[in-house]
């Protein structure tokens, strides 16, 4: 087990290197002069040259890359063009934690509702409840989350006045963004849990358990659900990642000052160090979460081939 964990962690190193390389190259793939774009339309040649110097764009590419990862390793992702503050400070002061909070609540809602719906559907196959839940899941999966967010605002904030339209801070602020973010995930988890449980409940050992006289609940929850959860865990891990991405849209709809909104504002302002830093942090977080999910496989299922 220990060896597996070490090997799995080592496997993330090439991915991390690739991620840093891709993020680093972003600035160099901009059509035209990146320094000129960042300095602004009204900048004179001296200001553009100063910008180029500040960003180290005059150095050889490999030198720039090694400096980039060297600095990133010590938590230095450069300074924001827009605010002049260090990128890491802008990210980790509050925005990172807001997005992580939003993604965790969204994932928790997705897992809770997805699992419940999936279990009900699987144990009542082809019943009215099963068909209704799967139709709801199909719509949840197909619904653009920015539209769902606007509709929730219209219903619960504008019409009913129950919840705030925008912002972040109290639990009331968290409800609508979390539902918006978690709905697609809940739909995916519900569909996955249903198909996984149906497959497991069809296995010989389940029939054996029934034949031995084990009760319905024990068979479904102890023997069925535990095994059916293994593929669901992967989906949950992937969902956390896509929720990080989905936060970009949700934060824009609900005016939440998280990482997503920071990316959009920075792209609009051509603040590339900030865009690079934010995307790098999200990607690294996603890789870390996926590694943890892979490792947690082992804990759930001893049969997983660790090689």
């Amino acid at each position: 087990m220990f060896l597996y964990i070490v090997r799995r962690i080592f496997q993330t190193i090439p991915v991390m290197i690739g991620v840093t390389l891709a993020v680093f190259l972003m600035m160099h793939l901009i059509p035209g002069d990146a320094a000129k774009i960042m300095a602004g339309e009204n900048a004179n040649p001296e200001q553009v040259e100063q910008m180029r110097e500040n960003l180290g764009l005059n150095d050889p590419l490999y030198e720039q890359y090694f400096r980039f990862i060297g600095n990133a390793a010590t938590g230095d992702l450069g300074n924001s063009i827009r605010t002049s503050r260090p990128v890491t400070q802008e990210i980790f002061d509050s925005r990172f934690w807001i997005t992580v909070q939003l993604a965790i609540i969204g994932t928790a809602l997705a897992v809770l509702f997805g699992l419940i719906a999936g279990i009900i559907s699987a144990t009542r196959k082809y019943s009215f409840a099963d068909v209704s839940l799967m139709v709801i899941a199909l719509f949840g999966l197909s619904m653009p989350n920015f539209w769902l967010g606007i509709m929730l605002i219209y219903l619960f904030s504008v019409n009913l006045g129950w919840l705030p339209v925008a912002g972040w801070g109290t639990w009331e602020h968290m409800i609508l963004p979390a539902i918006t973010l978690g709905t697609a995930g809940a739909a995916i988890i519900a569909r996955m849990t249903r198909s996984s449980m149906l497959e497991v409940l069809d296995q010989d050992y389940i029939r054996t358990a029934y034949a031995k006289g084990v009760g319905d609940k024990l068979v479904i929850y102890k023997h069925g659900l535990r095994n059916a959860l293994i593929p669901v865990v992967t989906v949950v891990g992937l969902q956390f990642g896509s929720l990080l991405g989905g936060a970009v849209v949700t934060e824009t709809v609900f005016a939440v000052n998280g990482l997503g909104r920071l990316i959009i504002d920075s792209i609009r302002a051509h603040d590339f160090p900030m865009v690079q830093g934010t995307i790098l942090v999200c990607a690294v977080l996603f890789v870390v979460v996926n590694t943890i999910v892979d490792i947690s496989y082992r804990l759930l299922n001893k049969r997983v081939d660790l090689n």
Partner: protein, 300 residues
Amino acid sequence: MDHQPQIETMAVNPARPENSRALRWKSFYKKLAKNKAALAGAFIILVFALLAIFAPLIAPHNPSTFDLPNKLQPPSSDNWLGTDDKGRDILSRILYGSRISLVVGILSTILGALVGIILGIVSGYYGKWVDTLIMRICDVLLAFPGILLALAIVSVLGASTTNVIIAVAFYAIPTFARIVRGSTLTVKKLEYIDAIKAMGARDTRIIFRHILPNIMSPIIVQSTLYIASAIITASALSFLGMGTKPPTPEWGTMLAQGRSYVAQAPHLTIFPGLVILLVVVGFNLFGDGLRDALDPRSKK
């Protein structure tokens, strides 16, 4: 984005002899014709395709003509879905918008699938360092969660419809490459491929004549499902101001414009959103049906 169910484990079923391909297609059509949900999906897609093609003939008004005295009007006999903040007819804008949304969804999927198929086949067929290199590149692309990769690409290339197609296609590449690689590995191990190799067939002939036709099922299913998520991603990018720019009628931009008027004129956001939902449901239903019909493990 990435809402599509994973189909990497879907059986390729290449063990059957090639001359049974016609039989397999027949059984596929039979299964698909019996699947009411898939037929409903196909119907929705067909209707929207026709609406997009014939938009100039069907649209009751010019989608770009301002009619400020009539702005923010609720649905009426003259404007079935009401008017927007510039007095433009929402139904006409939705009809014209379907052209952009469908084209972006389909083109980005074709582009991403083509690159992904080539990378996946090369990776699976040649193996060794080529496989390692391509798969590690895919791992890196997949490390950018959700819409972030598309956003990163748009931030570099600039916001435009063409760049949205490129960005959304890029996101599809690793998914297709992984599926195709897995299927290629399965087919490559079969005896008849060894026999063809022994007869001196060239790699390109083996790949295009014998491997590709046998791995089409998962590619077709994934493509259909990917169009659904591509439409959502492209609309999301436009919604964020990173895609198609106003005044071009596009569903995402229509939602972004209507958002500010949600309290006084909710129809500005309700209808474009409903249309996106309906089209995506259509592609998801059809994709699920295709998967069931093409999966040899599924019962008749």
